[in-house]
């Protein structure tokens, strides 16, 4: 029962980062948790590098607009917070499983 709770939390939360621009992962609902988490981190990384290039473009004056930069940085920040809360929940679930006495 605890195993299914962990996987259900993992699959439901992996659905939210999958809303980011990325490959359709309809086939991965039964994939191991590690792959789901690494996919989410990959999405965060993509957004983060986009935000960095937007900021660079704004500072060097190559035509990136202020609002584009701000939106890119906000997207990256939100994706990171999402991944962070996924990780926190997973750690909580893991610890509650590990805390079980036999």
């Amino acid at each position: 029962m605890s195993g299914s709770a962990v996987t259900s939390i993992a699959s439901s939360m992996s659905g939210v980062p999958a809303g980011l621009p990325s490959v359709n992962r309809a086939s991965d609902t039964s994939a191991p948790f590690g792959k789901l988490f690494s996919d989410a981190v990959g999405d965060v990384n993509t957004l983060e590098s986009q935000a960095r290039s937007a900021v660079d473009g704004l500072i060097t004056g190559t035509g990136v607009d202020v609002h584009q930069t701000v939106i890119a940085t906000q997207k990256a920040e939100m994706a990171f917070e999402l991944a962070l809360s996924v990780r926190n929940k997973a750690m909580q679930a893991y610890q509650s499983v590990m805390g079980m006495q036999f």
Binding site: A18, A26, I71, S85
Partner: protein
């Protein structure tokens, strides 16, 4: 819809409004320009907005997001949008010139005066341009508020995960 689809739509709208404000500024700057590279006075520029259909059109995306009323849409994690899905948005289709006749003022001493002594000035009304600029500014702020609203929505969704 994509989690960040609203931001992409609003971002494109802010871009379009910025271009509109730029065009208005160019009009105001050239209100008295009688010489241009193509000869004749400066002609007032106007922008044409066009809707970006995204991959499937605004209406289709919204219908799909809202769910089919005849059959209940299954909650399909992850998102059922195909890879490479583009959010709908707005873009500037063209910057066109006003075909209206230029303003004529009598000034035979001017270097650009025609044979009848009239100089052609651009037909730019500063009041019209100012109102247009106000409209562009307001629309820019409007779309900025939409982006902030979505940020708030995502933040409240993340609140659910906190304990």
């Amino acid at each position: 819809m994509n989690l960040f689809g609203l931001m992409q739509t609003s971002g494109s709208a802010m871009q379009a409004e910025r271009v509109r404000a730029e065009v208005v500024a160019a009009n105001m700057a050239n209100a008295e320009t009688t010489q241009t590279a193509s000869g004749g006075p400066y002609r007032r520029h106007m922008v044409v907005f066009a809707a970006d259909q995204g991959n499937s059109g605004f209406l289709n995306s919204l219908n799909r997001a809202a769910g089919d009323l005849t059959s209940p849409r299954p909650i399909n994690w992850p998102s059922s949008e195909p890879a490479g899905w583009q959010a709908p948005g707005v873009h500037i289709a063209a910057v066109i010139e006003d075909p209206a006749a230029p303003l004529k003022r009598y000034d035979p001493g001017h270097p650009d005066a025609g044979p009848d002594g009239y100089v052609s000035y651009p037909n730019i009304n500063p009041l019209t341009e100012m109102v247009d600029l106000m409209g562009a500014t307001r629309a820019y702020g409007l779309n900025g508020s939409a982006v902030q609203a979505e940020k708030g929505m995502i933040a409240s969704a993340l609140e659910i995960a906190k304990t």
